[in-house]
Amino acid sequence: MEPRIGVYVCHCGSNIAGTVDVAEVSRFAGDLDAVKVTRDYKFMCSEPGQNLIKDDIRELGLNRVVVASCSPALHEPTFRRVCQEAGVNPYLFQMANIREQCSWVTEDHNGATRKAKALVGAAVNRVYYHQPLEIRQVPINPNTLVVGGGIAGIQAALKIADAGHKVYLVERTPSIGGHMAQLDKTFPTLDCSACILTPKMTLVSRHPNIELLAYSEVEDVSGFIGNFKVKIRKKARYVDINKCNGCTECENACPVEVPSEFNLGLSKRKAIYRPFHQAVPNIFTIHKRGAPPCRTACPAGVDAQGYVALISKGKYKEALEVFRRTQPFAGVCGRVCTHPCEADCERGKVDEPIAIRYLKRFMADYELKAGREKAVKVKQTQQEKVAVIGSGPAGLACAYDLIRLGYPITVFEAAPEAGGLMRYAIPEYRLPRKILDNEISYIQELGVEIHTNTRVDSFKGVFDKGYKAIFMGTGAGISQKMGIPNEDVDGVVHSLDFLRKVRLGEDVKVGKRVAVIGGGNAAVDAARTARRLGAEEVTIVYRRSRAEMPALYAEVEEGLREGIKIQILAAPVAVLAEQGRLSGIQCIRMQLGEPDESKRRRPMPIKGSEFNIPVDNVIIAIGQIVDRTLLTRDLEYTSFGTVSVDPTTFHTNIEGVFAGGDVISGPDDVISAIEAGKEAAISIDHYLKGIDLKGGRPVRPERVKNVPKENIVKKARKIMPVLELDKREGFAEVETGFSEEMAVEEAQRCLNCGVCSECWECVKSCERGAIDHGMKDEIVEAVVGGIIVATGYEMFKPRGIYEYGYGRFDNVLTALEFERIVNSAGPTEGHVHLKDGSELKNIAIIHCVGSRDKNYHEYCSRVCCMYSLKLGHLVREHVPGAKVYEFYIDVRAFGKGFEEFYNRITREGTTFIEARPSGVTNVAETPQEEGKLIVHYEEEIHPGIPRRLPVDMVVLSTAMEPQEDVKNVCRLFNINQSADGFFLERHPKLDPIATATDGVFVIGCCQGPKDIPDTVAQASAAAAEVLSLIGQGNIDIEAATAFIDEKICSGCQICRIVCPYSAIDFIEEGGVCRVNEVLCKGCGACVGGCFSNSISLKHFTGEQLVAEMENMLI
């Protein structure tokens, strides 16, 4: 249709006509292309003005309209409506702003007229190219999401739900209630907070239209007003919400105590907990912060926090049960483990790591002493027999795990007794025989058959006997040689042979002077054993420094105490022999060079520094290598001489044969061997069930991060008692073990890093079977039309204000802490006294802590004045006669009933001091100040006079501040922050709860500090907003959206990346992008970024803008 344009020039009284020659502009417009009529009129926006346009459209068949008048911000909607009413699409209209941007900004009549012509000419040329656009509507989903279960969220949710619409109420803590639930009384009416809140909370839980998602967090929001798609992560509570009846049995059983968040750390709660009695939903939640470091550090994955927590509660049997869930060698590992768990212990970052190994030994010893009940034989559920070759830690661990899976297990051991190196390499004084025997019997009692003195020579033979899988843990039993002259001379022995013979009870003789070569545990064991066998002078020769000795530190220490000498930085170069008889060794001094692959500094010989040590025996303890036997001849070996296995499955190259322990790793510690045995057991189980060996293996849990370490009182680690030197006769065990008291005290030092220790005591205690430690987070997806954000605030943490002494002085509290103390359900059950229990006589309440302070928050937190007055009142209520001093800057009593409340408190006798105290100290200057907290201040009315006020307790009225993760919430809901960090409303006066994102509202303290009445009022307002939205049924969406000519799109996706609304999708098929017009807000950032101009923005096309620009140049 050929454009027929009408141009209307408004005088706006004299606003335009006074400066612009409107008649001239009108005349000029008449000459422009396609202009069929031009008129000028006093007030185009008036009824007659509007009718002028309508009449022309009807009579002259105009199909496009230009009005030159004020800013489109003012009357564009008016004239668009006029067009529409007369049958012209509202987008076939263009406005020339000849008032705000022309007549009002100049006094130059010619210039203004010229400019008006340019603007009108431009508008005419632009409207020529306009396209009719369709104003589209989308239906509004009647569901609502309310984020935050404080009083704001509760109120909004109830209002909307009462109106008959579904509400998803998401709260991230286990219970709704928010800060209000922590308050004792509310100002100014002094209603009991719980009394007015809990009924509402209960209503929420019972309301058929409210889906309460507590202990949940919104994870993703997409979509737009009317149709937001929301993903909510329902965090696993590990408690079945339907079975739990809140009986508290589990809470009693739980051994783990951590500070209670609800009571602000003033009391403890359990790992399975309910924040407060009236919690909604009234069920328990297990708090799992992550896997504790002791567990993740343990190669075998032993749950150390679990047994430590149980030991701390005196539940030693249960503790050992937890241990045996993973492996059987508590007594062995409690003595010889290299305890990587302790190295990673978080307590070590505070003072010293927990003595995990000693605690482990304690519970094993405790059982042995008390008399162990015979273990119950495991019922055989699987048919496939499994053979284990070698009864060292790897083999037995593998057997232990497999027997518990129901497989029949046979262990073949070549030696006379089971235990491998645990038995034959570790001396009696470190690992008494009865300990090992006990633990091996335990395994046997479960049903594992052990055939000793049985050497296996071929796998085939084993398979032929009907075994379906084999685990080989034959160890590394050959001592490594030094490769120096005379190594084979008489009197030179290898430590492994030496120790084995001693353990077997053979008569082993040593000379007076013995040298032991090496720095590992085997060397120290050999040296101390030699000493016990009568050697007078035992010298360990080690080529690096003391710090680099791989032997356990305590072992070396004890060795030194027993008189062993260490020659560090020395290496043997030759064994000296006289007449075929050992006479000594020649060594060379070493120095440390650059670190090598093992990160230890590489020792380098110093030329010419050779020296001799005269000895009668030399014990070589520089390591062992894997024996190549008849059995292993068909196995593949690595270049290190160990058996080659798949690092995940421990499968060898022979089908059905698995291997682990020293045989694959070379000499390593017990716990690593146990790990290998356990991993192989998983593989064997998979193998026998025909499951993929690599798939479906248990995933190692992730180590917990950010373990809080505030308020921890330092406490030393318990020291292991040892046998006096003079009592170390023969091979009596040197370390004597913790006493029960020591063990409990040590266990109580544990920080409970993971919070829940997974001891499963709760599971045992729950009669209803409501507890499931395997529960997973759930994702709930919902579509909602509107979102109400009520995420609340945090209290300012005054620890940063050093001078007020918070955290340093026991009796400096925050207002909220004090609120809990006066509360009868609080940590002191409402008894107000000092930390040490003594009587409170006077108290200072300092206002504006963190508020109205340029160093912290410039804003006023609005509630502190009133709650401070309230606390003052409560003090006197609880402690009649106590004196209350309120330090204030101004008392802001602006709300309804506030001034009256202030007057009432004043009458009650509270002392008001107009001052911002400069500090709080405990340094007394007078006897009256002794033992008191002294508040330093200068009164506003008497500046320059420093004053001191001794009080018993100081309460800091702290500010409200935005939640720590406010930025994430902003990102999630696409809302902004104002300068104070709280959420930004769309308009501070006229749109105080809406945000820049349509359909998202902010209420309560997340928008700014406010009191409960204001919060509730906002919540109701938000409910009204949402209901109004729902009532509309449909909503208009931007018509001027972007669109992509897919024929031209080259698929570079720049548009997709720059789009702030995720409104552009990449279409794999065709390799092009496409605009989702419903999401598009019409900003055009994509258009500016598309260099092939395959995207265009409706109503702002290149053609339209260029046309406009062209005609500006009249």
């Binding site: 489109p72 900004v105 100049t106 807000k1081 500016g1088």
Partner: protein, 142 residues
């Protein structure tokens, strides 16, 4: 070749509708005075502006081109002005290298509350562009 005239300089301004256009309106409602040499084109966001508009403006004969948007961080569409900034400064610096006096291509951040700043920006831009004379860049002569 064009000479200085009364109408010169002619400047086209691309203003985002949320901040700068509203700022320009505010300059009007608060009756700030500034030269009439700038005519304004309203766009939704400075991010809509392609370097092509700048070149097209100069090719058509405008003596100067102004692009104005919300202050960084204030974009109604969140990041449009950051996008615009990269495009416009690259264009400006490159045209300067080609020999287009830098005064001819200008950009500003004007918020909806900065009526006075808008008037000042126009004042400055007009003065700057006037100083480099009429746009003879694409004239065949000379």
């Amino acid at each position: 070749m064009k000479q200085n005239t009364e109408e010169q300089p002619r400047i086209v301004g691309f203003l985002c509708k949320w901040c700068s256009y509203a700022g320009a309106d505010l300059a009007g409602t608060s009756r700030k005075k500034y030269p009439s040499n700038l005519t304004v084109l309203k766009v939704p966001c400075s991010g809509r502006i392609d370097p092509l508009f700048v070149l097209k403006g100069l090719r058509l004969g405008f003596d100067g081109v102004l692009v104005s948007g919300c202050h960084p961080g204030d974009c109604h569409y969140q990041t449009g002005n950051y996008r615009a900034r990269r495009r416009i400064v690259v264009t400006k610096k490159f045209l300067e290298y080609l020999g287009v006096p830098e005064q001819r291509v200008q950009a500003s951040w004007v918020s909806a509350s900065e009526g006075a700043k808008f008037a000042q920006v126009v004042e400055d831009v007009v003065e700057n562009v006037r100083a480099v004379g009429p746009n003879n860049l694409f004239s065949d002569e000379g």
